[in-house]
């Protein structure tokens, strides 16, 4: 399968071109965030900042509670993922291993829940949260995010549990484990990478949410998640693109880092529940 020199050059050129085109918007965001405000409404555009400035970052951190927004996003993501993981590990294991009568239908229900439009469920949730006085409270978001993390986590985890040989549990039970301790001591440690990937993935899903956060928390700026906060920058009485881009960059950084870590597991995460 040796490749000729010419073929190699073409291949590299192609790869580089494709990547440049696809990743360029991200570069442009970064570039804009380093630009002084006066430069943004002027042509020709500056592709490489001769004097990059972090003024936009400084201003956005000074003038907006970005730190609070980031913390809110993180709190909600951790809590909603923890909640979802707790119920999903048990349910995924049950569907994968025990297969009690009816559990397959329940599994199917979780799968169908992934098709639920969030714009539908948000209406009754709003009504319920209003009665529980949770509007404007981060707890509302934790519960709302569980509506989309749980169905996916159940299937992703079921997929991982399916790959662990049942003989290992049988052996553990002979050694005196009961099914619960077998799950905790044998199955869970063995599926650690799967648990980690599912947890991270749930975190990403929660972090990316906009519609729930926008609706339940919009009135309370100190409860905003970073997505709502950054989106609101565009509606300002003055439009500062460099600050908006700085904010966007900060907001997506945790997810990009998660992606770099998660990349290997992405496939199983994306197709969770889709293959038997």
């Amino acid at each position: 399968m040796a490749r000729s020199r010419r073929e190699s050059v073409i291949l590299y050129a192609l790869v580089i071109t494709v990547i440049v085109v696809l990743v360029f918007p991200l570069y442009w965001m970064f570039n804009t965030s380093l630009a002084p405000g006066t430069q943004l409404r002027r042509f020709p555009p500056v592709f490489v900042q001769p004097e990059p400035t972090f003024a936009a970052y400084e201003r956005i951190f000074n003038e907006r509670p970005v730190g609070v927004w980031l913390r809110n996003s993180a709190v909600v993501a951790v809590a909603s993922t923890a909640l979802s993981m707790f119920v999903s590990v048990l349910a995924g294991y049950s569907i994968s291993r025990i297969r009690a009568r009816g559990s397959q239908s329940i599994g199917l229900f979780f799968l169908m829940s992934r098709m639920l439009p969030s714009t539908l469920i948000i209406i009754p949730l709003f009504v319920s949260f209003r009665q529980l006085q949770l509007i404007g409270d981060l707890k509302s978001l934790v519960l709302a995010h569980a509506t989309f993390i749980t169905p996916f986590a159940v299937w992703m985890l079921k997929g991982y549990f399916d790959t662990i040989p049942a003989e290992l549990e049988d052996a553990a039970m002979i050694d005196g484990c009961n099914p619960l301790t077998a799950l905790l001591r044998v199955v869970l440690p063995l599926s650690a990478p799967g648990l980690a990937a599912t947890t991270l993935y749930g975190f990403v899903l929660s972090w990316n949410d906009f519609v729930f956060a926008r609706t339940f928390l919009v009135a309370n700026q100190n409860a905003w998640t970073v997505n709502v906060g950054v989106a609101s920058l565009k509606g300002e009485y003055l439009t500062e693109w460099n600050e908006i881009m700085a904010g966007s960059l900060i907001a997506m950084l945790p997810i990009v880092l998660a992606y770099l870590f998660l990349e290997r597991y992405l496939v199983s995460g994306l197709t969770a529940g889709s293959t038997k």
Partner: protein, 423 residues
């Protein structure tokens, strides 16, 4: 066992999070949400809050910002969610839907018990809703125009005083100044992005042509020759790209501050932004009369009280309202927004030093008032959002598909009637 432990920890974190009981009642906190927090007038609000807090031991006011485009939606969520801000600050064209839902306290009895005299208070009539006094008018205004003398001079033109001159200035000044084939200077700038502000932007041309959405009795009055003229003017400006397109109000103000607009139609608050421009640009910016007989004007924003709060809090809110409607604070308010306050007798000499064009502002707001102009049309108040949406959609259709304005106007008339009947 690591995983099992992590698992257990996660469950614990969760339980802790949910069982974190509502923190015990602390000192009284009132909420005041405003879109003006970072505007020049934000300083006035902060000063008033400070004054109030120092007079009321143990009471704090939380001053939170929500941006204008999502303001009405946010308030709706808040009121419907049962967590309204105690002190209600709203634009005058949106308060009606809240008053209509019974969410706003009738201020009548509070005013009677106080020494606040609303006689001659500009625009206060707009605060009467359903036989009650739903609010107190905070700002009543008329549009003005900022012109950039450097750009006019270069085009060898004067500040326009009527539509023909205005459109001539726009045509002469909208151009590519650096020869790269891209227009970088405009005659005007309007918010044409999504949102209800589209309607307010068109309104200059509608009332400028002598038209208005409804009669003073609240009857839909759209299908008139004047309205057709107004829509034709709006279409001309968009067709000929005399304003940059798709921008929001914020972008427009920025362009004005960067000296790239020949003219800018806006309310008196624009002066605060003129003062923020760099000195070499600021010296070219001048506030003049709008080039139309009738300017956009009317009520701007109101202060009110939520009805579903404790009596104790109501008394505190009233104290705050009484404070900011007092003579001293009204004078300060006017100085901060760059426009005389609605309270009679607050037009002190300081204004003339701070705002060179005070007389112009008064003239503009009186003309608008005399013609019954307001951004919220009488008879369509509670369906304002829907109304703004259909006008925007029809106007966009007129421009995009090059439809005859007469046809659009006739269609809008019927749509508005339908909306009024359904609302």
């Amino acid at each position: 066992m690591f995983v099992a432990r992590v698992f257990l920890m996660m469950s614990l974190v969760l339980v802790a999070l949910f069982s974190a009981a509502i923190t015990g009642a602390q000192d009284t906190t009132l909420t005041l949400i405003s879109w003006q927090v970072d505007e020049p007038v934000g300083d006035w609000w902060r000063a008033a809050i400070e004054e109030f807090e120092s007079a009321h031991e143990g009471v704090t006011i939380e001053f939170t910002k929500v941006a204008r485009p999502e303001y009405a939606d946010t308030f709706l969520t808040l009121f419907a969610g049962g967590t309204p801000p105690e002190i209600v600050h709203l634009a005058s064209f949106e308060y009606q839907q809240f008053a209509d839902a019974g969410w706003m306290e009738d201020l009548g009895p509070w005013i009677e018990d106080s020494d606040l005299d609303l006689e001659g208070w500009a625009g206060q009539a707009k605060c009467h809703w359903g036989g009650q006094t739903a609010c107190i008018m905070l700002q009543f205004f008329g549009f003005v125009m900022v012109v950039n003398d450097a750009i006019l001079e270069e085009a060898m033109m004067e500040a326009p005083t009527n539509w023909d001159e205005y459109i001539a200035v726009l045509r002469a000044t909208t151009k590519d100044t650096d020869g790269d084939g891209i227009v970088d200077q405009w005659g005007a700038c309007h918010h044409t992005a999504e949102g209800s502000q589209y309607l307010s932007q068109m309104l200059s041309y509608v009332v400028g042509a002598g038209a208005y959405w409804t009669t003073s009795e609240g009857e839909v009055n759209i299908n008139t020759p004047e309205m057709v003229e107004g829509f034709t003017r709006w279409k001309t400006i968009l067709d000929e790209r005399l304003t940059p397109l798709d921008l929001a109000s914020g972008d427009c103000r920025q362009l004005m501050m960067e000296g790239k607009l020949a003219t800018k139609l806006e309310g008196p608050w624009i002066y605060g932004f003129v003062l923020r421009a760099e000195p070499e640009i600021q010296e070219n910016l001048r506030v003049v009369r709008v080039p139309f007989e009738v300017p956009v004007g009317g009520a701007s924003n109101v202060i009110a009280m939520a009805s579903e709060i404790s009596d104790e809090k109501k008394a505190l809110v009233w104290d705050f309202i009484a404070l900011i409607t007092s003579h001293e604070w009204q004078v300060q308010f006017g100085l901060h927004v760059g426009q005389p306050a609605p309270r009679p007798g607050t037009l002190v000499d300081e204004y003339y030093d701070a705002i060179p064009h005070v007389d112009l502002l008064l003239e503009s707001q009186n003309t608008a008032s005399a013609h019954g102009i307001d951004r919220s049309p009488t008879g369509l108040e509670i369906v304002y959002n829907e109304f703004a949406k259909i006008v925007r959609e029809e106007a966009q259709r007129m421009v995009a598909d090059d439809v005859d304005p007469a046809e659009i106007v006739a269609g809008l008339h019927d749509l508005a009637l339908e909306l009024q009947a359904a609302g």
